[in-house]
Structures are given as structure tokens and as C-alpha cells.
């Protein structure tokens, strides 16, 4: 019985590898499968052949919170995990939060005052999701672009409060730094968990 299961698993893995290989050939070949005549006829339509492979723009920082190939496969899991943590437990670490993704990957058209919203095909999420034909519901509720400058920047302390604050500021920034370190360690741990679960 065990042998049969192992065999089946082996076959399944072999099959998925084969499929992946075929997929890779399809995606990487500009002419499509073996440069068939029907597909080659459409090749003139796009710069990269009949298949328009998306090239999402890079975010603002030096690098993303994880490797690109990892992000491509697992960003949805990370967001799902983070959303539970935030909504139900009130954990608001920044690193894997949707808000941070949106603000880092915001794209502003030349001459425009605000980044594009999900309505535009140039929105970071849409560049891939349109291609993969995967509908995302996030932005029915969530903001798809950072808040407009001058929006409710609620709760900046007033001048008087600020002046009296400064005495404690040094101590507080130290405490904040240590809190940030703890948060970062936790994030590293979370990322390691993601990687492990993705490999399984």
C-alpha cells in the first residue's frame, strides 16, 4: 500500500515537473510552441511576440521584503496571514502589510499629481493580475493608492505638546528602536516560516 502511494506521488511530481517545463517553454519562447504557423502569424502584434509577458515596475526601496520569485508565488499567502493578524489581533507590523505594498509600489503617471488607482491597467497589481486573469477583490474595500497629501493626517501633536514632548523624546526613540528590532526579528521569523511552508 505504502509502495503504491509513493509511486503515485512520484508520478504526480513527475507530471507537474513536465507541465512546468512545458509552461516554461511556452513563456520563454517568443514564437510560442515550436513557432507554429498560426501563432507566428500574430507575432507581429507585440514587441515580445504573441505573448505579452508582464514586467511589473520595481518598488521604491532597494529591494522587496522577499525575493522576487518568492513574492510572485507567495504574496497572497503573506497578505492572508497578515490580515488575520491585523484585524483580529491588532498586530500592525509594517513589513508585510498591504498598506506598505501599496505605498511602495505606487505608480504615478508623468505629470499626474497622484498615483494611479486600480482602475488603471498600469496599477502595479493589475500588470500581473490582468495577464493571469485572476480577479482581486482587495480594492473593493482597501485603498488602491496612498492617501492624497493633505488628507486627514490625523493626530500630529500640537506645538505646545511637542515642546513638552522633546524632553522624553530621546528615551522614547531608544525604546522605539528596541521595539523595531523586536518587530524585525519577528518579521524574519515569519518570512522563514513562509519559505518553509512554501517548500513543503
Amino acid at each position: 500500500m505504502v509502495k503504491v502511494m509513493v509511486l503515485r506521488q512520484f508520478l504526480q511530481r513527475g507530471l507537474s515537473l513536465l507541465l512546468a517545463a512545458v509552461g516554461f517553454v511556452v513563456i520563454s519562447s517568443p514564437q510560442g510552441i515550436g513557432g507554429s504557423a498560426a501563432l507566428a502569424a500574430d507575432a507581429g502584434k507585440g514587441a515580445s511576440g504573441w505573448l505579452q509577458i508582464p514586467h511589473p515596475r520595481k518598488g521604491k526601496g532597494a529591494k522587496c521584503v522577499a525575493d522576487t520569485d518568492f513574492m510572485r508565488r507567495n504574496h497572497m499567502k503573506m497578505l492572508l496571514h497578515q490580515r488575520k493578524q491585523t484585524v483580529h489581533n491588532g498586530i500592525r507590523t509594517k513589513r508585510f502589510s498591504l498598506k506598505e505594498c501599496i505605498s511602495c509600489h505606487a505608480y504615478t503617471e508623468p505629470g499626474a499629481s497622484r498615483p494611479v488607482s486600480i482602475k488603471s491597467p498600469k496599477h502595479f497589481c493589475r500588470t500581473c493580475h490582468d495577464y493571469a486573469a485572476v480577479q482581486i477583490d482587495c480594492f473593493q474595500c482597501h485603498a488602491s493608492r496612498p492617501e492624497a497629501a493633505g488628507g486627514a493626517k490625523s493626530g500630529k501633536p500640537g506645538k505646545a505638546a511637542f515642546l513638552l514632548h522633546t524632553g522624553k523624546a530621546a528615551a522614547r526613540s531608544l525604546a522605539q528602536a528596541s521595539q523595531n528590532r523586536v518587530a524585525q526579528n519577528r518579521d524574519e521569523q515569519a518570512l522563514a516560516n513562509y519559505v518553509r511552508s512554501a517548500r513543503r
Binding site: G90, T93, S103, K119, C141, A143, S154, P157, Q179, V182
Partner: protein, 284 residues
């Protein structure tokens, strides 16, 4: 002995507060008489005076733009979950809430981005001013009503998906990811505090997601509370100079709200239902 007393005087004059003498000295104090006792009394007075002169500075900090509650609220580290030791609540002093003032409602709307989308009764309303009148005397009172953040919330009891839930620190929320928009919670809420979003929305506030097909209500400005700041309505009320709203931890006996709830008679609306709201009303 007199030399000791002089030392103490100098010490307090230097601003060290209660003085540095040991308990043996304290025992000796009690048996003092004549000029020494007078000196002690003077010192106690001086300490008291120092506190009074300090107070305006403290007030400036606590009752500045950020409102008093900010000083007593402790920001939680972003990686720490909400604590079950805390019970967030609000105290509304109805006597201080003027008729016609709408500052809290406006502030909530601006903060969380809800407004009159369709201009009908279907519109979202997280907080509203309610006016009650005594039929006999004609006395009128006006005060805000929002989600009362019950300890035993009926909305959570009836929710078929678990979208309606109570956070560890007593804040009642809707997880819009799993809300199917059935609106049972709206039926169950005795305070008519919840709204259903009928219209397609865009450009919501990044920290207050809300969308068509889900139920929403006052979140007790959970995004602010997690950062140790009071709710938008409380802040607006203080800014308008009314100070009718007070936000804080009902479980912490040293908090202003717990002290006031313990000191003065306060009411919960429809307390007879036994849902134990976190919002208390004073002078209603």
C-alpha cells in the same frame, strides 16, 4: 536636630521634592514642637506650592491638541497583540455636550471616510447625535450614540460567519474579509449602530477599509488606539472645548475614565439588556 532640619530645607529648596530624610527622622518629626514644627509645616506648604506651579505645564501637555487621554494611553508595540487585560471604553458627559454641536460626527466621518454616498437613509452612519426630551418637563438633552462596544455583543452572537467579533481589548469589529452582508447583526444591535454599504466605493482611507456588500460600524478608531492615541471623536470634542467625551481603559483603576465611572453615577443605555456596553453616559 535643628541642623538636620536645615539640611532638609536646603534640599527641598533645590527642587528635590519630598526630601531625603530617613524613617528615623520621620519618627522624630512627630515629636517636634515649637519652631521646628513650624518649619516642617512651611516645607510641606512649599512642596504643595511646587506641585501647583508645575500643574499648568502638565495641563498644557495633557490638554493640548492631542487631548488628555493621549497622555494616559500607552502605545502598544506593533508586534504585540491586543491585550485582554484592557477594556476600552468611553464616558460621555451629557451635560457638557451642547445641542447643535456636531464636531464628533464630523470628525468621525473625516477620519474614517464615511459620508452620505446616496443621500438617503441607507447611508452609512457610524456615530449620530440623538436628542431626547422629557415629556413632562420638556428638558432636552443631546448626545452622541455609536457602537457601544458591548461585553456581550448581540451582533457577534448572531453572525453566521464569524465576521462580527470582539477583540481581546473589548473593541467590537467587523472582519469585512469574511462578512457576507447578511445584515443579521444590524437586526440584532439594540443601538442601531451598524450600517450596510450599498454603493461601490473608491479611495477609502488606507487605515479604514470599507466596501460595498459589507456591514460596518464604529471601530473605536482601532487604528489610532493601537498607536496609543484617542479616538477621533474624543479628540474633536476636546478641540472644540467641550470635553464631553473621555476615552480610556475601564479595567485600569488608575485611568481617568475608571476613576470617574467609580466616582459618579453613570448609565449604560438599555442596561436592562445585560449586554454591558463599554460606552457610559453621565448626567443623562
Amino acid at each position: 536636630m535643628s541642623g538636620n532640619a536645615d539640611d532638609n530645607k536646603q534640599c527641598c529648596g533645590g527642587g528635590c521634592g519630598s526630601g531625603g530624610h530617613d524613617s528615623g527622622g520621620l519618627g522624630a518629626d512627630q515629636s517636634l514642637s515649637g519652631p521646628d514644627a513650624g518649619r516642617r509645616a512651611f516645607l510641606r506648604g512649599a512642596v504643595a506650592a511646587a506641585v501647583v506651579t508645575l500643574a499648568p505645564g502638565v495641563m498644557l501637555y495633557s490638554y493640548g491638541d492631542e487631548q488628555a487621554a493621549a497622555a494616559s494611553l500607552k502605545p502598544r508595540a506593533p508586534n504585540q497583540p491586543a491585550s485582554a487585560k484592557i477594556r476600552w471604553g468611553m464616558l460621555i458627559d451629557v451635560n457638557k455636550c451642547p445641542d447643535g454641536c456636531n464636531e464628533c460626527v464630523t470628525a468621525c466621518s473625516t477620519e474614517n471616510g464615511w459620508k452620505h454616498e446616496a443621500g438617503s437613509l441607507q447611508d452609512s452612519q457610524w456615530i449620530r447625535k440623538v436628542t431626547v426630551r422629557d415629556r413632562k418637563s420638556g428638558a432636552k438633552r443631546s448626545f452622541p450614540v455609536m457602537c457601544q462596544h458591548c461585553a456581550e455583543p448581540p451582533c457577534v452572537d448572531v453572525c453566521p460567519t464569524g465576521a462580527s467579533f470582539k477583540r481581546a481589548d473589548g473593541i467590537v469589529l467587523v472582519d469585512k474579509h469574511i462578512c457576507i452582508g447578511c445584515r443579521y447583526c444590524m437586526m440584532a444591535c439594540p443601538y442601531n449602530a451598524r450600517s450596510f454599504v450599498h454603493e461601490t466605493l473608491e479611495d477609502q482611507k488606507p487605515y479604514a477599509p470599507r466596501g460595498k456588500g459589507t456591514v460596518e460600524s464604529c471601530t473605536l478608531c482601532v487604528h489610532r488606539v493601537d498607536k496609543g492615541r484617542p479616538t477621533a471623536c474624543v479628540e474633536a470634542c476636546a478641540k472644540a472645548g467641550h470635553d464631553a467625551l473621555l476615552f480610556g481603559d475601564l479595567n485600569d483603576p488608575s485611568s481617568e475614565i475608571a476613576k470617574r465611572v467609580a466616582q459618579y453615577p453613570t448609565h449604560q443605555i438599555r442596561a436592562d439588556l445585560g449586554v454591558d456596553p463599554g460606552v457610559h453616559y453621565q448626567n443623562i
